[in-house]
């Protein structure tokens, strides 16, 4: 996860970035992340991406010139001069590519999260984290966040539904008004979370939880051959990527690939 995120951050080649995002996407689908989930993610991001394409494509010319050292950009098409405010601006190929690159980056990072969550049993993760000398308390907080996230998500849906059932016509509301109504979700959500965490504290105490690392584990963390293989591959991948990046400019924006 870390390796992929790191590489996604560093690589600025639109081609390699898109390839990486695609690989992660395919991996997600292979391990059974719901298509609808991925679809939702894309739907949420789509407006941002469109905005990115337009702004980068039209207006990021100076930025790109300084990044690539190119003095002229490849024009794709220009808007007529007569257009108000935007007249005369040129959509450049490099700008589009740069936007594509940013999209691939964010997408990779976002898709990596469900990939990890879906493929890793939380309990195995805790045991693994503790073995890797992460304090048990932190590992526990991490895992219980994952455990209670779906509950919180269910709450959000119930609250939004309750608001709509009060007869609020979101369809006809202005965006500011809508935002103000949505902000109200925080009230029951936060109070609900406070109540839940109080209950959870009582539950944990009565289960003898003290956050002490002095405990036993039902499952052992044993690294299997596949785990080592993945670790080695990840290590090699990052080294190769670094070497290519430094020595051959592969992965740099405007580099050979």
């Amino acid at each position: 996860m870390t390796v992929l995120t790191l590489v996604a951050l560093v690589w600025e080649s639109p081609l390699l970035g898109t390839l990486l995002a695609l690989i992660v996407l395919i991996a997600c689908l292979v391990v059974g992340v719901h298509l609808s989930y991925v679809g939702k993610l894309l739907a949420v991001m789509l407006p941002f991406y469109l905005l990115m394409l337009i702004t980068q494509g039209f207006f990021a010319n100076d930025l790109i010139r300084s990044r690539t050292g190119q003095t002229t950009l490849t024009p794709l098409f220009s808007l007529p001069d007569s257009w108000w405010l935007v007249g005369g601006t040129t959509m450049s190929v490099e700008g589009l590519l740069y936007a594509l690159n940013s999209m691939a980056k964010t997408l990779t990072m976002m898709l990596v999260i469900p990939l990890v969550v879906f493929t890793t049993d939380v309990n195995t993760m805790i045991v693994g984290l503790v073995k890797a000398r992460v304090p048990y308390k932190i590992a526990f907080i991490f895992s219980s966040t994952l455990r209670f996230f779906p509950l919180l998500f269910g709450d959000v849906q119930a609250i939004i539904q309750a608001q709509r059932l009060r007869g609020l016509a979101f369809e006809t509301m202005g965006p500011i008004r809508r935002l103000r109504v949505y902000a109200r979700i925080a009230v029951p959500l936060i109070l609900g979370a406070v109540v839940k965490s109080q209950q959870l504290e009582i539950v944990l105490q009565s289960k003898a939880f003290s956050g002490s690392p002095q405990r036993t584990y039902l499952h052992e963390s044993r690294l299997a051959f596949a785990d080592y293989a993945v670790l080695i591959f990840a290590g090699l991948f990052i080294v190769v990527a670094a070497v290519l990046y430094i020595a051959f400019d592969i992965g740099k924006f405007g580099g050979p690939l």
Binding site: S36, D121, V122, N123, S143, S144, L146, R147, P150, L151, D155, A158, I159, Q161, A162, Q163, R164, L165, R166, G167, L168, A169, F170, E171, T172, M173, R177, V181, R184, I185, V187, P188, L191, G192, V195, K196, Q199, L200, E201, I202, V203, L204, Q205, S206, K207, A208, F209, S210, S212, Q214, R215, T216, Y217, L218, H219, E220
Partner: protein
């Protein structure tokens, strides 16, 4: 059961004491409070005993449970007097984690008390904290799962379990500690009747077969009387009495004063003897036995006992000519994951009706009503409101015709005062200030919360929070009100207070639909009952007739009220007019030779 695991009873065969837990002069005040939550409690809980803790909401039942493992006062602070000893250990001197080995706790909410992501890890969690070796852990997990009958589900995620299974898992997790005492705080109040039965069956097994001491707090009178050896009655933090279920539930006058409901069988014979009958029965079987010897009057004027063929819905000819307010025709709904929630439901609800929709969890009750609000759309078939297809109406328009009071009031409160909450939707709909304030006053008056208009909704007790939501929905002046499990998690008084509001609204001309498992309360309110099971409509009949269809009720895991069982027994014992008797008053009236109150009593 695997013999390799020693039970607590066997472990402490030396029996320093026969007591599992002792309260000696215990009083307790939560921090920043003046009123004690517990007042001078003296109580000895015997080893192997099944103790029920009963009392109205706010009596201190939960506090009493939490003193047993030292969470009160160790985690809360506050002022604590006297001492509690569990398994010979003073709860003040031993850390909660040490007490946890001796006290297995089970709480009310099935979701918050499960902390792990698989069944076996849930059970292992407390054992891991107590540093139990891995092999021993494995043995205890399979032992505990076998007892609660969840074998084979080790690797399931708790989310995949039903409500009853979740509570059984919580019991298994507590049990794996091999505790001296198992303490359960309202473990069944969020469950449907199937879940309640599952949990009590397990507890009885544990107690009778393994001799584990069980302390359970709750409101389920019939189950408490059936299973408990002894009851402790708490009121305002005071232990009013302890005794056998016969002694505690038999004192109906005292219970009425306190606001605790006795089992229906007890109430029936209390009414029958005008309060003079000694030794009132508290279990159904005892009541049935007593009934056999009771002189026959042959004066029951309920419906004839021979069940007529299941009739058509009770639609009068006048109603048939008008457009139904709510209508579903051959409605199917299949969820995205492939679950067929509704399989061809057809029904019509007319203006001015009070309809009860009942059925087990997953029967499709909520799914059905969500179609009327356009929260869900039919997979096949149609739903309409006032004759208009719901798919053509916006949810915001529907919400002005149908007021929907959803289950959890805490998901529906968005503001800081009761008044703002009721005005919330109206303000966003751009009504004038005068209109809003008139509507707010009118709605708060209808639910009896006018005095609380400046209070914070979340500072109110749960029953009142539900009332705030009802008022907020009423402010829109809808024609129909749909209440989805409005009485969940409340004691009988709280449940009745809310149902009384629904009745008042019905009298004022609103159409009311109530979804609930609490059948025993409903004959006083609903006229018509729609029974659902696994996505189909099993029955649509007048409520008195429907409650006597015990086979169909059983098919969707609902138990009829005890009074119905008594009436069925009368039917079999040559009392031809005993059908349609559904409340203790009905049955007592019949046996006393009085005409039963056949109308829905207002």
């Amino acid at each position: 059961m695997k013999p390799s695991i020693e039970t607590p009873a066997a472990r402490s065969s030396d029996c320093r004491t026969e007591a599992s837990a002792v309260f000696d002069g215990v009083s307790y005040l939560y921090p920043r409070t003046q009123e004690p939550a517990l007042k001078d409690i003296n109580l000895t809980i015997l080893r192997g005993e099944f103790l029920g803790v009963i009392g109205p909401t706010g009596a201190g039942k939960t506090t009493l449970c939490l003193t047993l493992n030292g969470i009160v006062p160790q985690a809360f602070g506050g002022r604590f007097f006297g001492y509690v000893k569990v398994a010979g250990l003073d709860t003040l001197n031993h850390p909660i984690s040490a007490m946890a080995q001796h006290v297995g706790m089970v709480f009310e909410d099935p979701d918050t008390q499960l902390t792990a992501t698989s069944v076996e890890n849930e059970i292992a969690f407390a054992l891991e904290n107590l540093r139990v070796p891995r092999d021993e852990m494995r043995r205890r997990i399979s032992w505990a799962l076998e007892i609660v009958r969840l074998e084979g589900k080790e690797h399931k995620h708790p989310f995949e379990l039903s409500g009853g299974e979740k509570q059984r898992l919580a019991i298994a997790a507590a049990l794996a500690l091999r505790p001296e005492i198992l303490v359960l705080d309202e473990p069944t109040s969020q469950l449907d009747p199937v879940g309640v039965q599952e949990v009590f069956a397990i507890l009885r097994d544990l107690n009778r077969t393994l001799g584990i001491t069980v302390v359970i707090a709750g409101h389920a009178a019939e189950e408490m009387a059936e299973h408990a050896d002894r009851l402790a009655l708490l009121v305002h933090g005071e232990l009013v009495t302890t005794g056998t279920p016969e002694a505690v539930y038999g004192d109906v006058e005292r219970l009425n004063k306190i606001g605790v409901r006795p089992p229906q069988v007890t109430e029936t014979f209390y009414l029958l003897g005008n309060g003079t009958l000694p030794d009132l029965p508290v279990r159904l079987e005892d009541g049935l036995r007593l009934l056999e010897t009771w002189p026959r009057t042959h004066a029951c004027q309920g419906a004839p006992c021979e069940q007529p063929a299941r009739p058509a819905p009770p639609v009068s000819s006048a109603r048939q000519t008008t457009t139904p307010l709510l209508s579903a025709q051959a409605l199917h709904h299949t969820y995205a994951d492939g679950t067929q929630a509704l399989k061809g439901i057809s029904l019509e609800i007319h203006r001015g009706e009070y309809v009860l929709i009942a059925g087990q969890n997953g029967a499709g009750k909520s799914t059905l009503v969500k179609h009327f609000l356009n929260l869900l759309q039919p997979t096949l078939g149609t739903t309409s409101v006032n004759g208009i297809d719901t798919r053509r109406l916006r949810m915001s328009d529907l919400a002005r015709i149908i007021g929907y009071v959803a289950q959890n009031p805490d998901h529906q409160i968005f503001t800081a005062t009761v008044e703002d909450e009721v005005a919330f939707a109206l303000r966003h709909l751009g009504r004038s200030t005068d209109q809003v304030s008139a509507a707010v006053t009118r709605s708060l008056e209808a639910v009896g919360l006018l005095d609380a208009r400046d209070r914070h909704p979340l500072a109110l007790p749960k029953g009142d929070r539900t009332r705030v939501i009802i008022a907020a929905v009423l402010a829109m002046d809808p024609e129909v009100l749909i209440f989805d499990e409005p009485t969940m998690g409340q004691d009988d008084q709280g449940a009745q207070a809310i149902l009384d509001i629904t009745r008042r609204l019905h009298q004022q001309g609103k159409t009311v639909v109530t979804i609930t498992h609490h059948l025993h309360l409903m004959p006083a309110y609903a006229e018509r009952m729609i029974l659902m099971g696994k996505g189909v409509k099993l029955l649509d009949a007048p409520i008195r007739q429907a409650l006597h269809d015990v086979d169909l009720l059983a098919a969707t895991y609902l138990a009829p009220p005890q009074a119905v069982w008594l009436a069925r027994a009368l039917c079999e014992a040559d009392e031809p007019g005993a059908a349609a008797l559904v409340t203790p008053e009905d049955v007592a009236g019949c046996l006393a030779g009085q005409a039963p109150p056949m109308e829905v009593r207002h």
